[in-house]
Structures are given as C-alpha cells and as structure tokens.
C-alpha cells in the first residue's frame, strides 16, 4: 500500500528585506578599534583620500538579527530540496547529501585554511586532494586528475582546452582541426564549452535507437575533427553499446574522445571511461559524489586524462616529494594555465573525499547498481501508465535515468509534459527535467538516484498514475496545477519584457520613480 501524505508548501508573504528596513536598526557590531591604534594612524581622512571615499551610504537594509533570522527561515521554508522530498531531476543526480560531509568541510582545519599558506602548514589539505585524485583516477580508469575546475561546465572547458593543446603541441594540427563533434542529444554545456574554446560545433544526429548514429559519425569525422564529446550512458539513459566502434572512428580520424561525466553515477565500479577509450573525462562531484547542489552551486568538476594529455593539465599540480611531504608544482611549461584563482572548490573536495571514504569500493559499486535498479523500476512502471511511453531502445535497460514521453497524453487529453511536471509538485515531489533531451517529444527525464527507497519510488509512480487518470477525466485540473505551492502561475513574459524587466531593488525603485 502506498502511503501519500497531503502536501502543502509553506506560503509566507515575505516582503523584500529592503522593505523591512528601519534607519538605525543594528544586527551586527564590530569591536571598537583600540585607542592606541587610532592615535598612531590618525583620522580616516588622512588615510583614504577624500575623493575616493564613499559619499552616500549603500542603501542596504537596517534590520535586527531576529528579523534576518525570520526572513531567511521563512524563505527557506518556501524552497523544495532533497531534504524535503524526492527530487528526480534528470541529469542532475539529486541524491542525498550526507550531513557528515558538511560537518567535515566546516572543520576549522579545512574551512579556515588560506590557499596561499606555506605547504608546511597545509599538508592535510594536500594529502586529502592527492588521495582524492588517486581515487577518481581509479574510478574513471584514467592516468591523472586535476581538481581545479569549479563546476561541470568549467571541467568541460578545461577538457576541451586540453584537447586543443594536444593538437597544437602533439599532432601540430591545431589550426586544421577546428571542429568538435557533439551528438544532438548532448547537454547544452557541451557545445557552449567547445565554442568558448574556439571550436566550430558539428552536430551528430541520433539513430532510431536514440544512440549515436554510426554512419553519421563516420561522415562527420575527418581531418578537421578535434574530438567527440560524448555522454555515456547518454541523455536518454541508455548505454552506448557501440562505444568501441565510436572510439575507433574518432581515433582513426585523428581526434580525441571526451567523456561528459554527468551520468557517471550509473557505472561507477562497473565499467570505466578510460577502459572504453576515452582520453579526457570530467566528473561532477556534486552529482555522483554527493556534494550538495546549493540551490544552483557550488559544484566541482574534476577532470581526468590519459598519459598523453597530462603535460597540459592546469597548474599547480600536487606532487609527493621523496620525503613523503606534499607540495604544489607549477613547473609544467606545456600547461593550459589556470581556470580558477586557486585550487578549485576545495570545500566540495572535502565532501567528496568523505563520501568515497564512507562508501568504499563495495559501496561505490552498490551506488551504481541501486541507481540503475531504481531508474529501471520507475521507467518500467511509469511507461505502463496510459499516456506515457519510453521511446527509443525499448528493450535496452535504462541506466541512471529514464526519459518518459507524454506525447500520447498530450494528443489524447491536451495535457502536456509541463502540465504533468507542475501537477507533480502538488504530490510533494519535485518535477523531472522537462523537454530535454530534444529528441524526445514531451520529455520527462527522471533520475531517482540510489538514495530513494522503494516506498518513495512507489509514491512517485502512483503520482504519475493519478495524474494520468486525472488527465483523462478532468484535464483542466491538471492544466491548472500547481495548487499547493507557495505561488501558482508566474508571468514569465512580464519578467523578461524590457519594459517590466526587474533584476534588482535598484531597478524596481527606478520603475516606481518613473511611474510616479
């Protein structure tokens, strides 16, 4: 029996914090500067040139400490999260973010460490990063890893830059190889990252099975090819079974193979990108390795490479000296340089380390197995519900996620994937990713992850069933959703229109001035 509780999100009317301001109210104070210091240095005007001093105070709110506490507590209550409920947002791997990992990252020994400190005073941080590099190298089957990129997209950019540097320094065909091959079902960051590195993007269409079209790839690959960026399992959640042939085609054309690690969660401990022939891999530590998504970030986008690319990795790199001490080494003349001011999102690296240390080799493999079982369970049962299908490679098992199409539902009832997504919110579950990948009409991309129990998956499946029934009997009800959230339909057109565009309090003030 599936237990479902009625869901109703908190619905506070929270004014902007600016609107609560009352001149003179204080919520934080600093100690007085010692008299002796003031006497020694003199007045502020003698220290900061008058012309460079701020004339008018910044117009930020003046509120009490409790007002701040209530304001942001109420706002947090109007925000759905993994802690609140099932969050099956496809491609984002919204698994449980273990609390112990946050605790570890907040230890003073990590949180209060300055990146420019002498390495003699930061050996623990370096040891942690060094060991994490080893583990990620092993999990992906690569030869070396950099932890510097701050997010998946920056990892992609780093990886593409490594490919570019390889062609410049090794094949000496950098000018000629100006095309990056990218499947039509790829994440938007792939073409965007390639373009930032100066590449022309060549789109490779999908086959009837939703996999890379081998003939199209053969046609596209050639002397202009720098590489192929591929997600495997791909964005419909299916493993590219022809990966060996794909790798051969790209390598024979003189290109390199890039692995987008967005979907790595499904294969950890089962198979490795390095063994499949990939030359560069990025990993999203905020997906597979559980570091929290923070409402949009920070992430961490470690990049792994094969031997032929290690010379080009960003600097500095961690080295272990013969006396066992760790050090930073900047002496890599062929490096692509730096992509981050320091060493990347270290706080996320601490969490990823604690995650792997807790689960260990057996746990990491079990993560993949259970994530795959959960996705197949949901895919199987949801695609049996009237109105929903699971297009492409029907007999192939799904990996980390399943992509359901609501095309039949739309044709038969007028209820779209977006309507289904909004109605799901009323059931206390977050919506799947919608309308992606583009090759699936009315797509609902569902990634349950391994941390959801069967009971919760059953709630999710029964919500789909209820919505289907409702669509066939009372479609307007579904189209009117959501009903239980803090706000209902929002005017997105108004938000984006140049006349009503409001991106800050300052712009809002200007508009009310104009209206007045």
């Amino acid at each position: 029996m599936t237990e479902r509780s009625e869901y109703r999100q908190a619905r506070w009317d929270v004014p902007l914090i600016f609107e609560k301001s009352r001149a003179g109210t204080t919520s934080h104070q600093y100690p007085e500067v010692e008299d002796e210091i003031r006497k020694t240095v003199g007045a502020l005007d003698s220290l900061i040139p008058k012309a460079m001093q701020r004339e008018k105070e910044p117009e930020i709110p003046e509120v009490s400490e409790l007002q701040v506490i209530r304001h942001f507590t109420r706002l947090s209550q109007m925000n759905f999260s993994v802690s609140t409920g099932t969050y099956p947002l496809g491609s984002c791997t919204m698994k449980y973010n273990p609390v112990i990992n946050d605790w570890a990252a907040n230890l003073d020994g990590f949180a209060w460490l300055h990146p420019s400190q002498d390495v003699a005073t930061s050996q623990g941080a370096l040891e942690l990063m060094w060991e994490l590099e080893q583990w990620l190298t092993e999990i992906t089957g690569m030869d070396a890893v950099t932890l510097q990129p701050a997010a998946g997209a920056q990892g992609e950019y780093t990886g593409v830059m490594l490919i570019r540097e390889y062609h410049r320094c090794v094949t000496h065909e950098c000018e000629q190889r100006n095309e990056m091959l990218i499947p039509d079902a790829a994440h938007g960051t792939n073409p965007a990252s390639a373009a930032m590195a100066g590449y022309k993007v060549v789109v490779v269409p999908s086959s009837e099975d939703g996999l890379v079209n081998i003939d199209a790839l053969k046609t596209a690959a050639g002397p202009k090819t720098a590489g192929l960026m591929l997600t495997n399992p791909n964005t419909i959640g299916v493993f590219e079974k022809d990966i060996e042939e794909i790798a051969d085609i790209v390598h024979d054309a003189g290109g390199l193979l890039y692995y987008d690690g967005a979907n790595l969660n499904a294969i950890m401990g089962i198979t490795r990108p390095g063994d499949m022939g990939f030359d560069v891999v990025h990993m999203n530590l905020h997906k597979s390795f559980s570091t929290p998504h923070g409402g949009g970030g920070p992430g961490a986008g470690a990049v792994g490479v094969k031997d032929e690319l290690t010379d080009f990795l960003p600097v500095p790199r961690i080295v272990r000296r013969s006396d066992g001490c760790f050090d930073w080494d900047y002496d890599y003349p062929r490096t692509i340089g730096k992509v981050h001011g320091y060493f990347g999102n270290f706080g996320m690296l601490v969490r990823a380390y604690a995650y792997i240390y807790s689960l260990g080799k057996r746990g990491i493999r079990t993560v993949a197995e259970n994530a795959v079982l959960n996705a197949n369970y949901v895919g199987h049962h949801v695609s049996a519900i009237p109105g929903f299908t699971m297009p492409y490679s029907k007999d192939a098992p799904r990996m980390h996620e399943c992509v359901i199409s609501a095309e039949d539902l739309l044709n038969e009832t007028g209820v779209s994937a977006m309507n289904v997504a909004k109605r799901l919110l009323d059931f206390g579950v977050h919506a799947p990713t919608v309308y992606f990948p583009l090759i699936v009409p009315e797509a609902l991309m569902i990634e349950p992850t391994e941390t959801e129990s069967k009971q919760e998956l059953d709630v999710l499946i029964s919500a789909f069933r209820d919505i289907s029934e409702e669509a066939y009997t009372n479609p307007e009800k579904v189209k009117g959703a959501p009903y239980s959230t803090a706000v209902r339909h929002l005017d997105e057109y108004r938000a984006a229109h140049p006349k009503t565009l409001t991106l800050s309090w300052r712009m809002l003030q200007k508009q009310s001035d104009t209206e007045a």
Partner: protein, 467 residues
C-alpha cells in the same frame, strides 16, 4: 554478502522484489548494454567502506595536519577575505532547504531560493553602485575573464583589452586561458613605479578603435588605492570602450563604489561576505553591469527577475529570466557555458550583507583601514623595512619590502618558526618591488597579534634572527 550502508535504503529482499516486478532475473541483466570486455572484473582499488565514526576520525586527522588561520596569526589576503563570520550567517546559510536544492527550474516550489538570489543581486548592486548583478560566477578570476569576453561581444570588431600592470598574477593567468583561444589580445598598462597608479599617458597612447575595454582595480592587487579613476573613466569612454572595475566588496562601506566612477561592468570576490576561505574555494564571483540592454543581453550566468502571478490577485513572485542567453537554450551561441554557479555562496552573501547593514560595512571598512595602517606604520618605523613600499593610500593590503640583504623568504621562515604566517611573497612575480611581501590585516587581527608580527619581523631583520 549483503552490503549495508546508511545512505543506501534498498535491502536484498526489496531489490529482488523490484527486479521481479520489472521482469528481470538479476542486476546483471540491467547492465547488458555494456560490452563484456569493458566490464570491470575486479574491485576498484580505492578505500574500504567506513562507519560514520571512522569517517569523522579520518577527517579530523587530516584537518589537524593543517594550521588554519583562525589563530588570528595569518596575515594573508591575496584576493580573499579573512573575516569573522556571524553565527546567524552560518546557521541560516546551512539550512538544508537551501543547501540541498538545485537551480530553481520550477519557480512555484522554489520561491525561497529565487527571492534570496534576487535579494543577493539587489544587495550587491547597492554596494557596488551598479544596476544589475547576476546570481553568481565561480570566483573573481573567472568573473574577470568572462567580463572581458562580454566586453568583446558588446564592442563587436574590437578585440583588445587593457589591464593594469599591477594585476594579480593569478587573475592574469586565468584571463589568458579564457581569451587566448578566441584571439583576444590582452595588454598591460604601465604603472608609476613609486605610487602604483595607472600611467595615464600610457593608457592614452594605447587607447584606439580596437580597444573593447579597460580594466581597473580598486584597491589594486597590491593594496594601493587608484585615485585617477575619474580621469580613467573619461579617457576610456572618449575612446568608446567599456570600463570594467574590480573592487574589494568589503571596502564598499567607506570606498567609492565603481558605479560612481563610470564602470560599465563590475567584478569582485564575494567570499568575504560570510564564507570561510576554505583553502581557496568555494568562492563567489560577483558580476554586475549597468542597466543597458546592450550589456544585459550579453551577461553570462543566471539572472533572477521579479514578476507577478499571471492571475489576479496579482502577487509578487520571482523567476529565472532572460534564459535565451544561456547554454541550455542557445547551446554554442550562448553568452557562456556556465550552468552550476556558486548560488549557496551568494545566498550566504545575501544573509551576511543583511546582517551587516550600512553601519556594519562602515565599521568593518574603518576598522580595517585603521588596523592595516597601524601595521604598516609600525613596520615602516623599523630600519631596513619599508611599508607601504608602493603607493601611499591603501586599504587592507600593503606591500612591505626588506632591505639590507634580508630576503622575503627568510622573513617568512623566521615568522613561521615563531608561529606567525606572514604575507604572500611577491619577489618573483613583482621583481621591481625587491624583497617584498603582501601583508593583509583585517578586523580579526588584534593589536597584540599585529605587535607580535612587527616585533618578530624586527628580530628577524635587525637582530640576526633570520637564517
């Protein structure tokens, strides 16, 4: 053997039940698409599993191998903010409703994050005196790189950007990484050797129809205040180029905001607003621009906009907006590839800024002015020590140089022996400055700690206490 772990809820029984219900015999069948030859036939060579107590012990053990800066005896800034973090900031920013959500793709159920990020955008805009701030970039280094890319998109056909000769070496490297593949030329503007000020003659001679933007820093990487900002503003705009300004956001309670001197695009490091340095990340790239659609349409990153409900009674609400700039819609034509950003650090900054208020910003700005000048003043009184050795007016950071054959490295080592961590050694990156280091003093440094630093340097330099 059944593997049990607190984060993995499926028991063996349940797995069998689930497999049966989907018509599969075993887990292996679910991996049938993976060619046999690529299946790993062994365990991964990584750690074994550990219970929570064991994890806690291991993490504590690693943390204890570090000597963190909460001692108040570390005088490093180097672009980061070493500041006290109010308990309320820490507590609110740690609420798991913020921590464990992702980007607010479903606005109806994510108003909390959206309003908080709108407030972040608004608060940063007020501090910087600018109209629009996006909802975060990775760090100041990549924010500056993206600002340069944006300026070249806005000023089509121009592909030269001028930066100060005293730019942070790290920012320089990140900018070079991002601009090189797109053929954007970056040139350094000469600076006055004594004052550090941008050489206006050199700036003027470099300005041309090919210059898309000029970048200025205030305070500069070396701590001194750039006083020629109004003249720079005039020159840059006469040349029809954009002015990009990089500032220390913690100084905004007392220093002129960049919007005040004509900056079109502003970047800053926002980590100091409530987040610890965390060995250099996560940081917060603050990125803003003026209210001009030509610029706004070229912004990288996410933007939260205020709107209202579609139906009456119209209620205020917030959504992600102007998304057609972004990678998930525009793909290779997007303004940037950025997807995940630093939202939680932006949330933290919003909370922290709300707590500080204008009075808090003034107090922290003044306190840092007094304390950093006190440190420089006392150091400068020592023989063979000069501080600030470049510039006159400065805020928070200053260059101290050592004469009489004492190397910055030996001062650094002498300080470490005394349990003090000195500033960033500049000798190799700024050879003009001689044997020098960049000292940073904030509100967390007590007078006693500053006095100890000064006395230790005196011993090392003048009493043969060095190596």
């Amino acid at each position: 053997m059944d593997f049990k772990h607190p984060w993995l809820p499926l028991t063996e029984d349940v797995k069998q039940e689930m497999l049966k219900s989907i018509g599969r015999n075993n887990l292996d069948e679910l991996f049938s698409n993976i060619p046999e030859k690529f299946r790993l036939d062994r365990d991964l060579d990584i750690a074994d599993s550990h219970t929570e107590i064991e994890v806690a012990r291991r993490m504590q053990e690693l943390a204890e191998k570090n000597e963190p800066a909460d001692s108040g005896r570390v005088f490093l800034g180097d672009g980061l903010g070493m500041h006290y973090i109010p308990s309320a900031t820490k507590s609110l920013a740690g609420r798991s409703e913020f921590v464990t959500a992702y980007t607010s793709y479903q606005p109806e159920i994510s108003q909390g994050m959206l309003q908080t990020l709108f407030e972040y955008q608004s608060l940063m805009a007020e501090l910087l005196g600018i109209d629009v701030v996006n909802s975060s970039m990775y760090d100041m280094a990549s924010a500056l790189a993206e600002a340069i890319l944006m300026s070249v998109r806005v000023k089509k056909k121009r592909n030269l950007v001028l930066v100060p000769g005293t730019i942070s070496p790290v920012h320089w490297r990140v900018v070079k990484t991002y601009t090189e593949p797109l053929g954007i030329d970056i040139q350094e503007i000469d600076y006055e050797r004594k004052t550090g000020q941008m050489n206006l003659g050199d700036l003027e001679s470099r300005l041309s129809e090919n210059v898309a933007a000029v970048y200025l820093e205030n305070p500069s990487y070396l701590g001194f205040i750039e006083v020629g900002v109004d003249r720079i503003n005039e020159l840059v705009h006469e040349a029809n180029a954009l002015l990009i300004a990089g500032v220390d956001i913690m100084s905004m309670g007392i220093m002129r905001p960049p919007g005040d001197y004509g900056a079109d695009i502003v970047v800053a490091e926002g980590q100091g607003l409530g987040s610890p340095m965390s060995y250099g990340g996560p940081l917060l790239g603050v990125f803003g621009c003026i209210d001009d659609m030509k610029l706004i349409r070229q912004l990288p990153g996410r933007l939260v906009g205020m709107t209202r409900t579609s139906d009456e009674p119209f209620k205020r609400g917030f959504v992600l907006t102007l998304s057609p700039r972004e990678q998930h819609i525009r793909r290779e034509k997007a303004t940037s590839n950025i997807c995940s950003n630093q939202a939680l650090i932006a949330v933290t900054a919003a909370i922290d800024t709300s707590l500080l208020g204008p009075a808090g910003f003034r107090e922290i700005g003044e306190t840092i002015t007094y304390k950093s000048h006190y440190a420089a003043n006392r150091l400068n009184a020592l023989s063979d020590v000069h501080a600030p050795s470049i510039g006159d007016a400065f805020w928070k950071e200053f260059v101290v140089s050592f004469k009489g054959g004492v190397s910055a490295q030996s001062v650094h080592e002498g300080l470490l022996e005394r349990g003090i961590h000195g500033g960033k050694i500049l000798t190799s990156e700024f050879p003009d400055l001689g044997e020098s280091m960049l000292i940073s003093v904030t509100e967390i440094h007590t007078k006693d700690a500053i006095d100890e630093l000064v006395n230790a340097i005196n011993q090392i330099v003048n009493d043969g206490g060095g190596k």
